[in-house]
Subunit: 375 residues, 2 copies
């Protein structure tokens, strides 16, 4: 039998990038200057959602036009429902029809949904064009601006399709936070708490000291806290970009899933309920669940649940885990994307700032979590 070896040199373009945190007015001007320096051509495929198109797109479009960019804007509906392959096709088709070519650059202007969808479209359009993220919500500034994960949902679950596609740069415009509802600020703060708990007790202490200032969205404080939070995530991601090293100390990139195993299940299980939760609110409850699993397994930091229960409400976040933890939620934990066979990986905080990864049999989950509930 004949064989042919296809040798692919392990040469990669430098995909390191900068995240800018700009808390001053006129951020869009400085963004456009940076884009003018970096864009391979004057053609821009911009994706945004209906809310952001009304709130922030006009000033971004104006500064880009002033610098001679030809901007092809595709507006998608607000909310998680836009993260589908059907919508991705509409976005790519809009760019193709307007004649965007391989030298075009994609700008994703919006929150997490726009970033996930826009980044995914950039990764598949003409087999991949560069993209720049302009996160306009606290949650997306804290969380999705680092890591290069893009994705859409499948009928079976969230983020089940996607890619790893690193942005050229990220420009977090913190002046957009003034237009965010209080619950959205709180939702972003939940991921900030997560990064503190898994990697930096000093950051947690600072949040505990200045919770009320953070909660009202103070741009000065938040640009510092968010930058520190992104540093933490960047360190984790740099060491394990593709989440392939769960065996490394602390669980590799997987440690970022702290609070997400139960949190995602709560979020999706309650999604169609009138009393649905925002992502960060569900993660707040998921962190409490993970803290309980840790103490039940005898390896978790025994102070964690109490510190979370004291801090989260001061940030506008819920702590009523027991009310949200029903049979439907427990069943959903079992179909989590992060399962390996019949076990689910839990990120356990063994002491604040440090994690271990522990697989838990899905069959044992109801017992562990429900015993915790009554315990």
């Amino acid at each position: 039998m004949k064989t042919v070896a296809v040798r692919l040199p392990s040469v990669e373009l430098d995909r390191s990038y900068l995240i800018y945190f700009d808390a001053d007015s006129g951020a869009e001007e400085r963004f456009a200057d940076e884009l003018a320096r970096r864009a391979p051509s004057k053609a821009i495929g911009l994706v945004t959602d209906e809310s952001v198109a009304g709130l922030h797109w006009p000033r971004y479009d104006a500064v880009l036009a002033a610098r001679g960019f030809r901007v092809v804007t595709v507006v998608v509906p607000d909310g998680e429902g836009a993260k589908t392959l059907e919508r991705a096709e509409a976005v790519c088709e809009g760019w193709a029809r307007a004649g965007l070519d391989r030298k075009s650059l994609v700008v994703a202007l919006g929150g997490g949904v726009v970033g996930d969808l826009g980044g995914f479209c950039a990764s598949i359009f003409l087999r991949g064009v560069p993209y720049v993220q302009v996160p306009t919500t606290l949650l997306s500034q804290v969380d999705s601006s680092v890591g290069g994960k893009t994705g859409v949902n499948l009928p079976s679950g969230k983020n089940l399709a996607g890619s790893f596609h690193q942005p050229l740069f990220v420009y977090a415009d913190l002046t957009t936070l003034f237009t965010l509802p209080e619950r959205e600020i709180a939702s972003g703060l939940a991921e900030l708490v997560k990064h503190a708990v898994i990697a930096d007790e000093a950051l947690l202490a600072r949040l505990e000291a200045e919770a009320e200032t953070a909660r009202v969205g103070d741009p000065g404080l938040l640009s510092e806290l968010v930058a520190r939070s992104c540093e933490i995530k960047a360190q984790v991601v740099s060491a394990d970009e593709r989440e392939v090293a769960p065996d490394q100390p602390g669980g590799g990139r997987a440690r970022l899933n702290f609070g997400h195993t139960v949190g995602h299940a709560i979020e999706s299980s309650w999604a169609s309920h009138p009393d649905s939760l925002r992502h960060g609110e569900a993660i707040a409850l998921g962190m409490i669940a993970a803290a309980r699993v840790g103490t039940r397994l005898g390896i978790g930091d025994p102070t964690l649940e109490a510190r979370l229960t004291a801090l989260l409400p001061r940030l506008g976040l819920p702590v009523n885990l027991d009310e949200r933890l029903d049979a439907k939620v427990l069943e959903r934990v079992g179909v989590d994307k992060k399962r390996a066979g019949d076990r689910v990986n839990f990120v356990i905080v063994d002491r604040i700032g440090s994690t271990v990864l522990r697989p838990v049999e899905t069959a044992r989950l109801p017992e562990i979590l429900l015993r915790a509930k009554t315990g």
Copy 2:
């Protein structure tokens, strides 16, 4: 303004891979043995089309089952119409619903469409799982088994969305060629001629010497010719995996587009006509067009058009370029994915075995090609 640097080490897993050319009966057994050695788990997501599901899937499914694999098969309709994002969603959802996880492996069993779609689904399912290609047509064995290009079509055109995703290995089962219609064999031979013309005059001479034996699908001869053809493509792809180096001698990976600039336009323009062309047939005409453009620009090998016109009909391929070259085709050349701004890149064979890349203004194309037509 605060900035955070996200440093991504340029560490890549070894993505080099082997292509096996197996011309003996029982190829599926040897394939399954190799898969058993390489698969990360016993879970397989298999994608195939209706024809191949009838012809070859049963023996593949049987040998995989015999080795303890759990195979989740999704069957897509035959033909190019299956290469859509909607179909990609159905494939991924089928795998998700059956509980495939990140340790699953995708097998694409079929021709070019199944390879492109299956590879694309593997690249996005759970943000990417490994995949293995089992090409069952000559065209896909010659062409799409090397290079890692996956893709789907958009309403605006072919392969406008996709990814680069290298297979774990490729297993070309040449015994499948016995079930292929004559026109499909011919279509595969067109890509073989292309690789000879751009890189290896000796291969072209061999095709000229044994055209009739190749045309009837002789497995012994074809396994040699196809392996040599894949070697050529592998060399080109290794040097320029992502088609980012058109400036390197010969045009980098772009040289593989020889005959495709006009060929794609003819293929898509005539697609809905009763007298439509197979991919290789359109590429045969596209190669003649590219030969003409070369001589008109004064840089092409002056013997090329005559050698192609003599060889192609002996392989069962058309040469009636003038009949297919209408205004609609010329307009489509202008919207080719490989355009850069208002110019289209033509791969010109300056002497057989050697190429140069030459941008041609789209506005000049009718004049060049139509003058050629009457000349």
